[in-house]
């Protein structure tokens, strides 16, 4: 027969041992839960609602997936465009508006044609500034007031007059549930001209317009970038005498829903968006 004491310890815990085990387990589980919570807080996407639209917290994989769809469509539209008009951002004209931010178009701009440009000479439309002037009567009621530096509108155009896509980025700040947030909204509306008449193309899966969109937010304090979202216009020259308002490619930085913002001045690492373009005014 084996010693009794051995059999007792092997058969079960004493109350003290059981309590100790539970306490230790609770501590371990608590620590793990706390660690997991911290680890996955980046993937936790508590949504907020602003102006009737849901914004998820960055980084958001769902929004990232939508962003990929949007930027693939935008790249295609840019590739097929004759002209690309970028409204908003800084330096929309080196002399008349060197610092900006200039006005973008309101998000309800859904025109499919630029009537005034149709009869213009293409040689005089080498800048988005010229396009803004020529189409001023059409744009004027849509131009945003107090634009954010991150706001812009991109129109891709064929044949001077046919708008083939409209892309907007908007940045808004708001206090929601006691938190100061920077909310980004990016939308892309495709226009289909294949039938000869323009059709605003809905999303093939969701059936909604704009064709693609994503919306997310950062904590306002984290919304600091080395290359901030927004448009920057670059110029070759501005020559009124010879009609040479010649704009170079505009650098357009879209907000990236799966990039962590928050520039750390003490770090060599800088947050940068995956979605950066140099868009030429003319292709």
């Amino acid at each position: 027969m084996k010693p009794v004491s051995f059999r007792v310890s092997a058969a079960g815990f004493s109350i003290v041992e059981a309590i100790g085990t539970l306490v230790v387990s609770a501590l371990v589980m608590g620590a793990l839960t706390y660690g997991m919570g911290g680890l996955f807080s980046q993937q936790a996407n508590p949504a907020v609602t602003y102006n009737g639209a849901a914004y998820t917290r960055a980084p958001s994989f769902d929004d990232f997936h939508q962003a990929i769809d949007l930027h693939t469509a935008l790249s295609g539209a840019v590739d097929a465009a004759d002209n690309i008009i970028v409204l908003g951002g800084t330096r929309s004209h080196p002399a008349f508006d060197p610092t900006g931010p200039s006005s973008a178009l309101a998000e309800n701009f859904a025109d499919t044609a630029l009537a005034a440009a149709a009869g213009e000479a293409g040689s005089k439309l080498f800048s988005s500034w010229d396009q803004r002037q020529i189409n001023s009567s059409q744009f004027s009621s849509y131009l945003t007031s107090n634009p954010d530096p991150a706001d812009f509108t991109i129109l891709t155009v064929q044949g001077l007059s046919q708008i083939t896509s409209v892309t907007h980025q908007r940045r808004r700040t708001a206090v929601i549930d006691g938190r100061s947030l920077a909310l980004y909204e990016v939308t892309h509306q495709t226009v289909d001209w294949r039938s000869g008449s323009p059709v605003l193309t809905a999303n093939s899966v969701t059936g909604t317009t704009p064709t693609y969109s994503y919306r997310f937010y950062y904590a306002l304090a984290e919304d600091v970038w080395s290359m901030p979202p927004g448009a920057t216009h670059y110029w070759y020259r501005a020559d009124a005498a010879w009609d040479r308002d010649q704009e170079g490619p505009a650098r357009v930085v879209f907000a990236d829903p799966f990039a962590l913002a928050g520039q750390d001045s003490g770090s060599s690492l800088s947050p940068v968006s995956r979605f950066v373009y140099f868009l030429p005014q003319l292709r």
Partner: protein, 469 residues
């Protein structure tokens, strides 16, 4: 025999019962461990999905860059063969593309090659007077075909801004196919198809050009000053100047690389074709001698001030009247019958008077060729309604009585001009030596004149390329 419980009670302790309670604690720990592992795996998969999606998007973006690079290579290859310039390649289009392809860099494991199963076409001739009959031309339209062109929407703003200025000829579309392979990722194999649309555009479609000669002369560092009223309504103009703000006060340093030699951005490629390269060719012996050769063939006319003439025949050609001394010639534009009149003044001893034509008529070319150091005086004494192309080399041009003239006025780098004139059509001059300080000229955009001049005008090959993947 005592049981364990008896023993426990005998020691005054309460035993923790083995069985369900102990199992529940173990199960809880196990469940927590499983959930933790699952969450860790989910997190890993999420990060992997983000990475894979990012890689896929990067691959897509890289391929867009690749195909656009190939588009540019095909365009430059076509221009190397067919551009209106003083030097063209004698190679085939495939050779030219291959040369450029071999100097291009692609990502690791990526190979791009011409698809040899689909032969690379040859570049069609861009014929123009006097080397051949240019193809039929018509005013292009963006969204519908014109008589001689396809719709041009989608061919790019840099292309359409020049080909829409007047009648153009559609030389068709060339297609070149490339195979892209990635040895590390076979699923990334792609076929790039580059479509090149070629148009023949009369140089006279641009109303005003202040040209440069980068090889035989210089380029204008800045655009010439223009007097008030020089540009009439709708007048198109072209000048390609330095991009250095130090040279041209209208330039901005935004994209200017101050180190190394100055390079114009590719945005100016088509403008350079029109305002630099075409004029190198236009004033070259190749073109000028070809015009003289054409003038030797009846019913065209040629008169040389340095050779003896027949005093009994002071009207050797229709519309050409020679003075009794033989030192001056009067051209009556209304009476010229040929396509070209050439007046050769190798010693700078002659003078020319142009009386113009009050009535419209078929276009012709008037060439004043002077290779001496002394300019030939050329005086326009009357208005002209018969479109003509005036090539004036080393001349001293005077407009008398402020005439109104339809046509194209090409001034070479050494020609000077004075007086006042209203010009309907095309005017080009050497940018670094602008005559606008002494010449009072008002330009008017006149589509009818452009159309009339198109059959005789020098032409520029305009290329638009676009690639699909």
């Amino acid at each position: 025999m005592k049981t364990e419980s008896h023993l426990a009670r005998g020691r005054g302790k309460r035993a923790f019962r083995p069985g369900s309670n102990r199992g529940m604690a173990s199960f809880a720990v196990l469940l927590f461990a499983i959930v933790s592992v699952m969450i860790l795996m989910a997190n890993f998969k999420l990060n992997y999905a983000v990475s894979a999606t990012s890689d896929a998007y990067d691959a897509f973006s890289s391929q867009v860059v690749e195909k656009n690079g190939l588009s540019q290579a095909v365009k430059e290859s076509i221009l190397a063969i067919g551009e209106t310039a003083i030097a063209n390649s004698g190679g085939t289009l495939q050779q030219e593309i291959q040369n450029r392809l071999s100097s291009m860099s692609f990502g690791s494991n990526v190979t791009v090659s011409i698809d040899t199963a689909l032969p690379v076409p040859s570049v069609p001739a861009n014929a123009f007077y006097p080397f051949g009959t240019p193809p039929g031309s018509s005013q292009p339209s963006y969204f519908s075909a014109s008589a001689c062109t396809r719709p041009v929407a989608g061919m790019g703003g840099l292309f359409t801004s020049l080909c829409m200025l007047g009648p153009s000829a559609d030389l068709g579309r060339l297609t070149v196919t490339f195979d892209r392979t990635n040895s590390a990722s076979p699923e990334d194999a792609r076929t790039y198809v580059v479509n090149a649309d070629l148009f023949s555009v009369p140089l006279t479609n641009v109303d005003v050009i202040a040209y440069g000669l980068p090889i035989t002369g210089s380029i204008p560092s800045a655009a010439p000053a223009v007097p008030p009223g020089f540009f009439g309504d709708g007048v198109s103009c072209l000048v390609t100047t330095s991009n250095n703000p130090a040279n041209d006060s209208t330039a901005y340093p935004d994209l200017f690389a101050s180190s190394g030699g100055e390079r114009l951005p590719y945005q100016y490629r088509n403008a350079v074709s029109f305002s630099w390269n075409a004029y190198e060719y236009l004033w070259s012996p190749t073109y000028q001698n070809a015009l003289l050769g054409a003038a030797l063939i009846a019913p065209n006319a040629i008169y040389n001030f340095s050779t003896s003439f027949d005093p009994s025949n002071l009207q050797p050609f229709p519309g050409i009247t020679v003075s009794p001394t033989g030192a001056s010639v009067t051209v009556d534009c209304s009476a010229v019958t040929g396509s070209i009149v050439a007046l050769v003044d190798p010693n700078g001893t002659g003078s020319v008077t142009i009386t113009g034509s009050p009535a419209p008529g078929s276009p012709f070319i008037l060439l004043v060729r002077n290779t001496s150091g002394v300019r030939t005086p050329v005086t326009f004494t009357g208005s002209n309604s018969r479109p003509a192309i005036f090539y004036l080399e080393n001349s001293s041009v005077q407009f008398s009585g402020a005439p109104q003239i339809e046509g194209a006025l090409f001034l070479d780098p050494t020609t000077t001009a004075s007086g006042n004139v209203t010009w309907f059509g095309h005017f080009s001059f050497y940018g670094p030596a602008s005559p606008l300080g002494t010449l009072g000229i008002t330009m008017a955009d006149t589509p009818a004149v452009k159309s009339a001049l198109a059959p005789l005008a020098p032409r520029v090959l305009l290329v638009s390329t676009n690639a699909t993947r």
